[in-house]
């Protein structure tokens, strides 16, 4: 028979006040298998713990039940005590008689009866517990960072600094991400390139960091500590080793009319190009759709002028397979499409631009060489109007429900920059709420409004019409509650941002969860913001939610710290309360795999000897490192072949019986 020890805690007076420990002990002593039943004012205290440990050793207890506070508080403590005393830590059950009984029921008699019932349930469960042992898995000492923006670069640098190998995968031809497209950054108005390029150079030159640009993640298998990732390195048609980045090829290239993505199409590029001057790696890429050589086979000028002979038209995509211990997703953000926002005439007028396009226009290397001019007729604008929350905080369903967080500050930055460089230009900003929280943000915005004369109008713009020479706005000022008709030369829309298109497919490859807006979901929104619920996957940057550069860098560092913590472990202990399948009863019907959030269930043939009758059956298999023990598969399994260790069908049925 089992030998179970039962301990009631007084928790000072928290339990003793409304639950009588003696009644609980008497209610439990009669149960078959209970050999020790004692009470103590503070079970969790050292003295209480020693009392339990001694009882375990003296009576060779096979199970332990502690009636005390919530298991979320001290289950771990009592499990450690049991383990130290030689009892498997999973042979311990907690009856929650504080939060669920003594603190919510006043009548002592009723409270004591309920405590007895919960105690009986815990005892019924512990009788069916089986010793469980966490699985030990090796850890591959290498990390993968997906996304080469500032988040990915910072994370890669931190991990490499800790001495671990890192692969940094970037879809575009160069790392740098959105920050490389910015001119100045708030609130300090630092030049974006000046603070970004040193980090890019550090990353590119770091011996532990291997950068793979113009590459995408094709397939992800395995589990925490043992991911196997296949990366597709698209063919650049330029040999990385030989190319010196001299630029002869892209100067010679006859194709001139391809819109440069880096400049949001405001400027053109050649068929062979680098996205921006400080691109790293400084190796051009041949855009095969527009290159005459690939379209008709009659060109090859770049090859002729290239002294080092780096051009290689016959290059094909390369699939690189590599093992990693952890993965960081840093896929960043993009602005939303404005087709549904006809009222701002974005598609009709060249002078209605997004803030990003404004950023490129004011950028020295931008399409206008840094000159602030109207794109329609090149005139210097006398008045510029900014419209905030275009597509953000949207209730019409055309945009995004959330606040994009960074628009108020970058519009304030634009306004100050305009007023600083061209004091005579009128700057109006239509806003719903100015959101400039944190250090030096609000001061920066107020300086713009008070010292630089930026006119902030709390109101919304109803219509924008392009009159050729100027733009006419009909808007309403919500403070004075008056209709406004304004003339202005240029309208800048602070457009909402969303995760890049690559986020959703990547999440499903990693079987990591994303929310309804395609932002990566955190393991816990407050306490584990940089971890995905899928073990071994970490989150950094705007891919997890709208945020500005300081927060992104902070989060990248945090994610890197988590990865370093994981990779420095010799061995990974997995949660032993996982699903387990009985191959003899399993039908191989695949009902369980669709419900597993972690893709932990696979199927394969297995030799089954059912009472002398041998057959080869298709049977389910649970990957214990991936399984988190939610139990979804157990309930969809009709034959009961799948069961959950620690919360088995029989244990829960026994608890139900004990309570009724």
């Amino acid at each position: 028979m089992e030998r179970i020890g039962f301990f009631v805690c007084h928790c000072g007076s928290n339990i003793k006040a409304t639950v009588d420990p003696d009644v609980v002990l008497d209610g439990v002593r009669g149960i078959a298998g209970v050999v020790v039943a004692e009470q103590y004012p503070y079970m969790c205290a050292k003295t209480g713990q020693n009392m339990i440990a001694d009882a375990i050793r003296d009576n060779q207890l096979t199970g332990l039940v502690v009636a005390a506070c919530s298991p979320r508080m001290h289950e771990a403590t009592f499990r450690k005590v049991a383990e130290a005393a030689g009892l498997n830590p999973y042979m311990v059950e907690i009856a929650n008689i504080r939060e669920h009984v003594s603190w919510i029921h006043k009548d002592k008699e009723e409270g004591s009866q309920k405590a007895v019932a919960l105690a009986k349930a815990a005892i019924a469960k512990v009788k069916l517990n089986a010793p469980l042992f966490p699985e030990e898995n090796s850890v591959v000492k290498r990390a993968l960072v997906i996304g080469g923006g500032i988040a990915g670069i910072q994370a890669a640098l931190d991990i490499a600094e800790a001495g671990f190998e890192v692969d940094l995968v970037e879809a575009t031809p160069s790392i740098g991400g959105k920050m490389a497209q910015l001119d100045k950054t708030f609130p300090t108005l630092d030049c974006s390139a000046c603070i970004l390029t040193p980090k890019m150079v550090d990353a590119a030159s770091h011996d532990k960091i291997n950068i793979m640009t113009y590459a995408e993640v094709e397939k992800v298998e395995g589990f925490v500590g043992n991911f196997t990732v296949t990366v597709r390195k698209k063919a650049r048609s330029v040999c990385m080793e030989k190319c010196t980045g001299c630029g002869d090829c892209w100067n010679k290239c006859p194709v001139k009319n391809v819109p440069l993505e880096f400049d949001l199409g405001l400027q053109n590029r050649k068929a062979i190009y680098i996205p921006f001057a400080q691109a790293l790696p400084l190796v051009p890429v041949i855009d095969r759709e527009h290159c005459i050589m690939f379209k008709s086979g009659k060109c090859g000028l770049c090859k002729t002028v290239c002294q080092p002979g780096a051009i290689q038209f016959d290059e094909v995509d390369e699939l690189v397979e590599q093992k990693y211990g952890a993965v960081i997703t840093a896929t960043g953000f993009e602005t939303i499409n404005l087709d549904k926002f006809g009222e701002f005439a974005y598609n009709d007028s060249k002078d209605v631009i997004t803030s990003f396009e404004f950023e490129r226009i004011t950028h020295g290397a931008g399409p206008t060489g840094g000159e602030l001019v109207r794109l329609s007729d090149g005139r210097k604008p006398k008045s510029i109007t900014f419209i905030q929350c275009v597509g953000s905080r949207d209730v019409t369903g055309r945009g995004k429900p959330y606040c994009s967080k960074i628009c108020c500050m970058y519009t304030a930055k634009h306004a100050v920059l305009i007023k600083d460089k061209y004091p005579d230009i009128d700057v109006n900003v239509f806003y719903i709420d100015m959101r400039t929280p944190g250090k030096a943000y609000d001061e920066f915005y107020r300086r713009g409004a008070e010292e630089y004369g930026v006119k902030y109008i709390k109101g919304q713009v109803g219509k924008v019409v392009d009159k050729g020479t100027h733009l006419e706005l009909s808007a309403v000022d919500m403070l004075d509650n008056v209709q406004l008709d304004l003339k202005t030369d240029m309208v800048v829309l602070a457009t909402a941002i969303q995760p890049t298109a690559s986020a959703k497919p990547l999440a499903s490859k990693l079987s990591a969860s994303i929310d309804t807006n395609n932002f990566m979901t955190e393991a816990h929104v407050k306490l584990r913001p940089v971890e995905s619920p899928t073990a071994g996957v970490y989150l950094a940057g705007a891919g997890q939610g709208p945020k500005d550069i300081p927060e992104t860098v902070g989060q990248a560092g945090a994610a890197a710290a988590k990865v370093i913590g994981l990779l420095s472990k010799k061995v990974l202990l997995s949660n032993p309360c996982t699903a387990a399948v009985d191959p003899k009863a399993c039908n191989g019907c695949s009902l369980c795999s669709p419900v597993c959030p972690y893709g932990a269930i696979s199927y394969g043939p297995m030799e089954i000897n059912d009472h002398g009758f041998k057959t080869l059956e298709r049977v389910s298999h649970v990957n214990l490192a991936l399984c988190q023990g939610c139990g979804a598969c157990v309930v969809v399994c009709p034959s009961g072949a799948m069961d959950l260790q620690g919360f088995s069908n029989k244990q829960l049925l026994a608890e139900v019986d004990a309570l009724c």
Partner: protein, 476 residues
């Protein structure tokens, strides 16, 4: 439990998920909010771990009310757990209500770890509802007739007799099809394309054709296909150790009526049939006939409302060229709607009078193509229900509810379970209730129609599932 001397003290079992509702209950404790001590909490890792069998067992063992709590959809620690709970218990509560068991005894609530006040409020409300409802005896009596079952005077349920077998329907001759079947079978066997043919052969009496395997062309002249060929052949090709492990080498030609082919497609989807070992010929069907005492007793109800004319799977088709008599879709759920229209006590009386006839012979289970577990939970010790036929013990009361739940979303409504019932219990009306609810809540779904389609109970649709009120079982 009703203590004679004291007022009725309801016993309520609450299943709380460890990450949200259990934490919410803890917070209610730390905030010293109060709710009645009748509520007893069982911790589960996630609300998706709560098996309807636990809820039914709690009721059977004397609980008067059961409440399942979980995280708000979208907050689940395991990201998708509560999406399955939502669909599962919407359908289960509807079935229990359909059986006449008071719906208010069962409840599903989303309580986050921060909503201590909501937890206390829900528990107070629920305890009060159950106190008003009084003690629960119903589920245990579902299969036991009370002594003279006087309370069955309410006999409106008499009109819903078991599915009427319409004797007047004329059945189109399928002789042409039989003829082609014989030709094809002989040819394929002779050419060695298949090693055996599975069809029906003459029984001892003209009305009793039996499923049979034909191993060589000579036997094909015994092959028969007529209006008595009701048995569904799809399950014979399943690798069924419990049938003594009929393992087939070589390939088998099988003839499938439209309803059989849906079941067969479902078996393919569940990897229980090896498709490259099977050559399928879909055959037309004019409807099959019930036989009593070796005489026609009218077309089966399942054929009268049958809407299946196509074959979702099949290498070849031999179809009934003229249009076989088919009703439109709506007739299919007429009987289900007739039962739903009754008052709850009458629904309970109807199901009690029907299910109390059950002799637990397992015919419905063994003939059902999707009841294909190697060891059924009712004849293994997995869920403590291996008591076989102990009618007065609680587990056996569950048999029909659990079977309906286990095949929900997989049942192709082939109607075999009611056809084979020796006591003529219309058990398929339980499965059809699930199908009706699934179609209404989660979109038309015909099991076995499309192998790729996700199954209703192992998938979710975030834009739709939220619009169904679980505790009322209706689309808001």
């Amino acid at each position: 439990m009703l203590d004679e001397n004291k007022t009725f003290e309801p016993l309520i079992v609450a299943f709380c998920c460890n990450w949200c509702s259990y934490a919410g209950a803890d917070l209610a404790g730390t905030s010293r909010l109060s709710y009645p001590p009748n509520v007893k909490i069982i911790k589960v890792p996630c609300s998706c771990r709560v098996d309807p069998i636990f809820v039914l067992r709690a009721f059977g063992k004397g609980a008067d009310g059961v409440i399942v709590c979980g995280c708000h959809p979208g907050d689940c620690h395991y990201s998708t757990g509560n999406y399955f709970t939502r669909r599962r218990f919407t359908l289960m509560f509807n079935l229990m209500d359909y059986l006449g068991i008071e719906r208010d005894r069962m409840r599903l609530e989303w309580v986050s770890a921060a909503e201590a006040t909501k937890f206390a409020r829900v528990m107070n409300e629920f305890t009060e509802t159950i106190t008003n409802l009084g003690p629960n005896r119903q589920i245990v009596d579902l299969r036991n007739l009370p002594e003279g079952y006087e309370d069955l005077e309410r006999e409106p349920h008499r009109e819903i007799l078991p599915p009427a077998t319409d004797k007047s329907r004329d059945i189109p001759s399928v002789a042409k099809i039989e003829e082609q079947m014989k030709l094809r079978a002989t040819k394929l066997l002779a050419d060695g394309v298949v090693d055996r043919v599975l069809a029906w052969k003459k029984g001892d009496h003209e009305t009793m054709p039996e499923p049979a395997f034909f191993d060589h062309p000579g036997q094909i002249e015994d092959l028969v296909y007529n209006k008595y060929c009701a048995p569904n052949l799809s399950k014979y090709l399943m690798n069924a150790p419990w049938l003594g492990g009929k393992l087939f080498d070589g390939s088998t030609l099988v003839f499938l009526k439209p309803c059989d082919s849906y079941s067969f497609n479902q078996l393919i989807k569940e990897n229980l049939v090896n498709t490259d070992k099977v050559h399928i010929i879909g055959i037309g069907c004019g409807g099959t006939v019930q036989v009593e005492e070796l005489e026609d007793a009218g077309m089966w109800e399942k054929c009268q409302v049958c809407t299946k004319v196509s074959h979702p799977v099949g290498d070849e088709i031999i179809d009934l060229s003229d249009d076989s008599p088919r009703l439109e879709k709506d007739a299919r759920f007429e009987l289900v709607e007739a039962i739903e229209a009754l008052e709850a006590p009458d629904r309970f009386a109807y199901w009690q009078s029907q299910l109390s006839k059950c002799i637990r012979c397992n015919a419905c289970r063994n003939t059902c193509p999707v009841c294909n577990c190697k060891r059924c939970v009712f004849s293994s010790d997995k869920m403590d229900m291996a008591s076989k036929v102990n009618a007065n013990e609680f587990e056996e009361q569950l048999f029909h509810i659990v079977r309906a739940y286990h095949v929900a979303g997989r049942c192709s409504d082939c109607g075999e379970c009611s056809r084979v019932c020796p006591q003529d219990i219309p058990v398929h009306l339980l499965n059809r209730k699930f199908i009706k609810d699934i179609n209404e809540f989660y979109g038309e779904y015909q099991a076995g129609e499309n192998i790729e389609a996700p199954e209703p109970l192992t998938s979710y649709d975030l834009n739709n599932d939220g619009q169904i009120d679980i505790n009322k079982g209706v689309r808001t």
